[in-house]
Symmetry: C2
Subunit: 314 residues, 2 copies
């Protein structure tokens, strides 16, 4: 193809951000746009928190704490300690440095900028070349249905540590941001990657936005998903638990069925190579565990190659 090819990734938090990091480093600067789930966003102590956007910003800028697995490296906790002493709500951890991002975001939103503009300004300030695109500029919260009623996402995920049984999920239906629709309609778009985030908790909130799935289907660029399963288990987080609670076999066949009609190919882990034959779509078998930066970049390279193959075959 001619001209610089563009790639769009759809991502939730930690797992998705790892592949987004790999794609960003594997592609020319600025070729990547990441559409990020904001279904987990909430207002806490008056501050607008966007957990998945923050994870993307910290991961793409290299500021993330790789040992703890979330938040910023070199974080300190004086605010949190004092908040606890003063009797404030302390179930959601806010580091002193992380807090600057939330406070500044709040001030920028209050000044009339939308979440897309605010995120772009913060990303630029953090030296990030990729476009980090909130899926929507309007709230579109995910509600987790449990036998004891519906829970806001962070109450389920952080406060209750994913303990409640999930009987269903309710996604918001805000309009996708203009920047998201523009990225998906870009004539230079050469491929769309669904990152190995939790399909139900992190990717579905994006796909549920009116017109979003249609935009993916309408694109001439191939769409591939990277399975979040490795050896029939989720690498991290509650994917396998939720699949079981929703009555789904914890297999790549379930992942493929979930994305049926939307994706042109599925990347699965070597540990699940045996699944490949039974899957009703093109499959790439790769090392998907991204335990260091080199593996993130290597997997991104393989995914981009898979997209090339699908585009040439089309």
């Amino acid at each position: 193809m001619s001209g610089p090819r563009k790639i769009v990734a759809l991502s939730g938090g930690v797992g998705g951000a790892k592949l987004a990091f790999g794609l960003d480093r594997a592609l020319p600067a600025g070729a990547l746009s990441v559409i990020v789930n904001t279904g987990d966003d909430f207002t806490h102590l008056g501050l607008p928190i966007s957990p998945d956007i923050d994870t993307l910003l910290y991961t793409l800028s290299g500021l993330n704490d790789t040992r703890r697995g979330w938040g910023r490296a070199g974080e300190s906790w004086a605010f949190m300690e004092t908040l606890r002493e003063l009797g404030g709500e302390d179930w959601f951890q806010l580091g002193d440095r992380d807090l600057a991002l939330h406070v500044l975001r709040g001030a920028m939103l209050a000044s009339g900028q939308d979440l897309t503009q605010v995120t772009a300004a913060l990303a630029a300030r953090m030296g990030i070349a990729a476009k980090v695109l909130p899926m929507s500029d309007a709230p579109s919260p995910t509600l987790v249905e449990t036998p004891d009623g519906a829970l806001e996402f962070q109450r389920y995920f952080v406060e209750q540590r994913c303990a409640p049984v999930v009987t269903g999920l309710r996604h918001g239906a805000a309009a996708p941001s203009p920047a998201v629709l523009a990225a998906l309609a870009d004539p230079a778009l050469a491929g769309i990657v669904i990152c190995p985030s939790n399909p139900w908790l992190s990717i579905d909130p994006i796909l549920a936005l009116p017109g979003l799935s249609e935009a993916l289907r309408a694109s001439s660029a191939p769409v591939v998903a990277v399975s979040p399963l490795v050896g029939g288990q989720a690498v991290k987080g509650p994917t396998a638990k939720i699949m079981a609670e929703l009555g789904l076999p914890v297999t790549n066949a379930s992942i493929a069925a979930h994305y049926a009609g939307l994706i042109d190919g599925l990347v699965i882990d070597r540990a699940d190579a045996g699944d490949a034959g039974a899957l009703p779509l093109p499959v790439a078998v790769e090392e998907t565990l991204m335990t260091d930066d080199a593996r993130k970049i290597a997997l991104a390279g393989r995914v981009l190659g898979f997209l090339d193959t699908l585009r040439e075959g089309a």
Copy 2:
């Protein structure tokens, strides 16, 4: 007199808080109510900042930083450093621990509590026995008039470090809080102390509230002011500079004239003992420099004694 006597103090920030600390320690627990200037309050980065209330809370709880002269002891600055890196406004210093107070106050106000309730809850949490009473539950901002136009108080005081010439002051006219009016109407009230805060910047915003000066005059309790001047100079802050800019001699005669009709006695420093004879009201000459806790408590004891004398003489 019978029953526990109550004392009300009117206070601005640092200098006033020192005497309030002394009064709190010199009196039985809970006998002191401090009416605090909120004319300096402002919203910064979306957070409600109440500089004088915060100074009172930190000073009365013993958490204040005595070396720096403002804010909390043991403070850290990771938030501020990160805010600066992200391009946020950094002219107003917010320590990591101090921030917890502002964030929690914001959340409590947003939940529907008024500033009086919020301040009482925070004070209780910090182990403070005195009542810390914001002068009003509504914004009543002080504007500083300068040759280049009117400035919000914190812009004048912090950002411009009191450099602009003050040509006048405009005070808000919000209603005093019910708790403030109740404290001044309390039959057990034995004395009212105007702390050695800046009369123009810190005390006038309180006295300017509708009904406030009238409540002081209507009280049967004597009212004494402690002069902020020592040896014809202000101990700290722009009192002397502002007096000169407003065309007033920097003398205790100017302070007495400013409070004329409102106070029954003036406490002046030993260094200004020579002023006593020329002042048209009862004067107590004391050591007013409060360089350590013992001196704060000692001065408070003398002020309480002076109130007793005035009450007996009435």
